[in-house]
Symmetry: C2
Subunit: 178 residues, 2 copies
DNA sequence: ATTTGCATGTAATCTGTTACATGATTCA
DNA sequence: TGAATCATGTAACAGATTACATGCAAAT
């Protein structure tokens, strides 16, 4: 499906960037629903350049340093918009190791199961506090035709996902305590 | 991390099964949080047999048909319980193509964005109705030391996940309609 | 007879992670 | 001067999907 390709094209469609900048974006705004490490990004950039989807200029600041600033081409933009408009089926449910453990958890001593649930709860409570903190960057709902609007929607979705997870774990704990 | 290994060991710890039976389990109860196709399962069974984690008997019913019924060994059980008890960090957030699209959705005509959201909503409403229908197999909350209890917990979690997703999409539609 | 389901496997490819490898710049 | 950050890449491996490949049994 080449989703990484479209994630990169989408980001470059917003702003010219280097491979390093892209990997920072993947670690920040996109982090809650897509991730890619630099070892995946650099080869993909090479491939996209060969395909004519993107081009770069070398920004040589200082002496030997060469930073490649990529920008999207018309071909790339066309391909991206076409992908963006696609109405796809829901894919395979995402894999979740913790849920897999809970599925088998009757084979665990009761106290251990509770420990795992409580620790998991703490981690998700920490995560939601980070997300809610990120949310403060929006003083109000952004304009729906702005880049920030998409950012807002998915951050809202991430918080809701964490709230649901916390609620689920609490229910599990409750049922285990009966 | 060899999670597939432990998913298989966990299932065989509940009940002796063939590779075919296992792939049916992955398509049914585990489906909401783990999936594996037969082309992944058969090589893994071979590997686990070589490692002494599982063994099989050939069930030849009829003429040439050979069905391999696998069972877990003591070594496998020990390894499984050890894995089950592990208290791991939360992994990378699962990848989500629809959320990626919504992140970039300001580049789409407003009507198209709404169409995508509404179609996605319908698909999740269909999915939740299937899940709620599955839930009817439990007339009451199973005993917490039974295999059904884990099944119950994760099915409850799957329904909550769908409810959250539906709520999120509805909020997105609302914000897009302002 | 033909299709559907049961049953098992391999090969090629794609996607993603971890480790390896290098070197400049900036800040303490 | 040493550590952190910026910056770019490759190699090896692990995990997962799609396609290829075969054959029996049961039902229509």
């Amino acid at each position: 499906m080449r989703t990484l390709k479209y994630a990169i094209l989408g980001l470059l469609n917003m702003k010219d960037m280097s491979g390093y900048d892209l990997s920072e974006e993947f670690g920040f705004s996109l982090n809650e629903f897509w991730h890619a490490s630099h070892s995946q990004i650099y080869p993909e950039l090479k491939k996209l350049t060969a395909e004519g989807m993107i081009e770069y200029e070398e920004d040589s600041k200082g002496e030997g340093l060469v930073k490649k600033i990529y920008h999207i081409t018309d071909l790339g933009r066309k391909d991206f918009i076409n992908w963006l408009s696609k109405d796809e089926e829901i894919g395979e449910t995402p894999k979740d190791v913790f849920r897999l453990r809970m599925f088998f958890s009757s084979r665990l001593p009761g106290e251990r199961r509770l420990e795992l649930l409580k620790n998991h709860l703490m981690r998700h409570e920490l995560r939601i506090s980070h997300l809610k903190n990120n949310m403060t960057k929006f003083s109000k709902v952004p304009q729906k035709d702005s880049d920030e609007f998409g950012d807002y929607l998915v951050l809202m979705g991430a918080i809701m996902r964490e709230e649901m997870t916390i609620e689920w774990i609490k229910k599990c704990i409750e049922l285990c305590n009966r």
